[in-house]
Amino acid sequence: MSCIEQMKYRLYLERTSFKEAREYIEKNCKEVYYVDPGYKIFKDYYIIGVPPVAMGVRGSEVLFTYVKPCHGTFVMGVDSEEEIARLRENEEKKIKKSLKGSERDKAEAKAAPMSFSEMYRN
């Protein structure tokens, strides 16, 4: 059993499908972050899910999906400033990474186009 079941949590959806659980988070949280399956939260819970795995932030609460093989998917909420900060930090890293990528694309686009003679030289 994961440590989550011993934490103080709120249940927003029970025994539903993963897709419905993801949609609930997307519709009910102002901030939504997407993580890969296996993303670790709290001490020992690795999120089970079909990508994209949504996690939501609502006030001081983080909402996430919790899958139990015999019972389906649950949407749980736990107050955790620490997890919220980690989600925001990861998102910032992703944005920085994609910005670096687009800067590289721009630089490549700025490079002088190859002339036809160079293209047919080989």
Partner: protein
């Protein structure tokens, strides 16, 4: 040819009878072919397996599913092939997780009354073995026997 290769069998919720039968059958078959086999499952599934195979004649390596997922994510262990058994949305979700975290060649073994619809809903990289089977393992066994490793 399979010497030294590792296989993982992931059990879903054990409420559909064919799962346990096929897990024992497939473990035996893979072991005979030289595979190193590990079976992962929930507490309930592992208990059923331990009672059915008290001296670990068929299954030597049994592990807790959540513990195993942690180890795969942390890159402490991985496998060459993975058979994820599923008959529900939750099982399908576990399969998606293995598809994302493991480098193993993944087989989604889909069974139960709604096997066809569930099989169609799988849109992650996996080779599908789908059979409408609940009590009678024969349709699933026929399809598993056709898998070439």
């Amino acid at each position: 040819m399979s010497e030294g290769k590792s296989a993982l069998l992931v059990m879903g919720c054990p409420e559909v009878p064919v799962q346990m039968s096929m897990v024992i059958y497939l473990t035996h078959k893979l072991k005979k072919a030289g595979w190193d086999v590990t079976v992962a499952g929930t507490n309930a599934a592992v208990k059923l397996l331990k009672v059915a195979d008290p001296e670990s004649y068929y299954v030597q390596k049994m592990v807790d599913l959540d513990r195993l997922i942690a180890d795969v994510v942390e890159k402490k262990i991985d496998f060459d092939v993975c058979f994820a058994f599923m008959h529900s949305d939750a099982g399908m979700t576990y399969g998606a997780t293995f598809s994302a975290i493991s480098k193993a060649r993944l087989f989604a073994v889909v069974f139960g009354k709604n096997a066809e619809a569930l099989g169609e809903s799988i849109d992650y990289p996996a080779e599908k073995i789908v059979a409408v089977a609940t009590h009678n393992p024969a349709p699933l066994k026929v399809k598993i026997d056709k898998v070439a490793l």
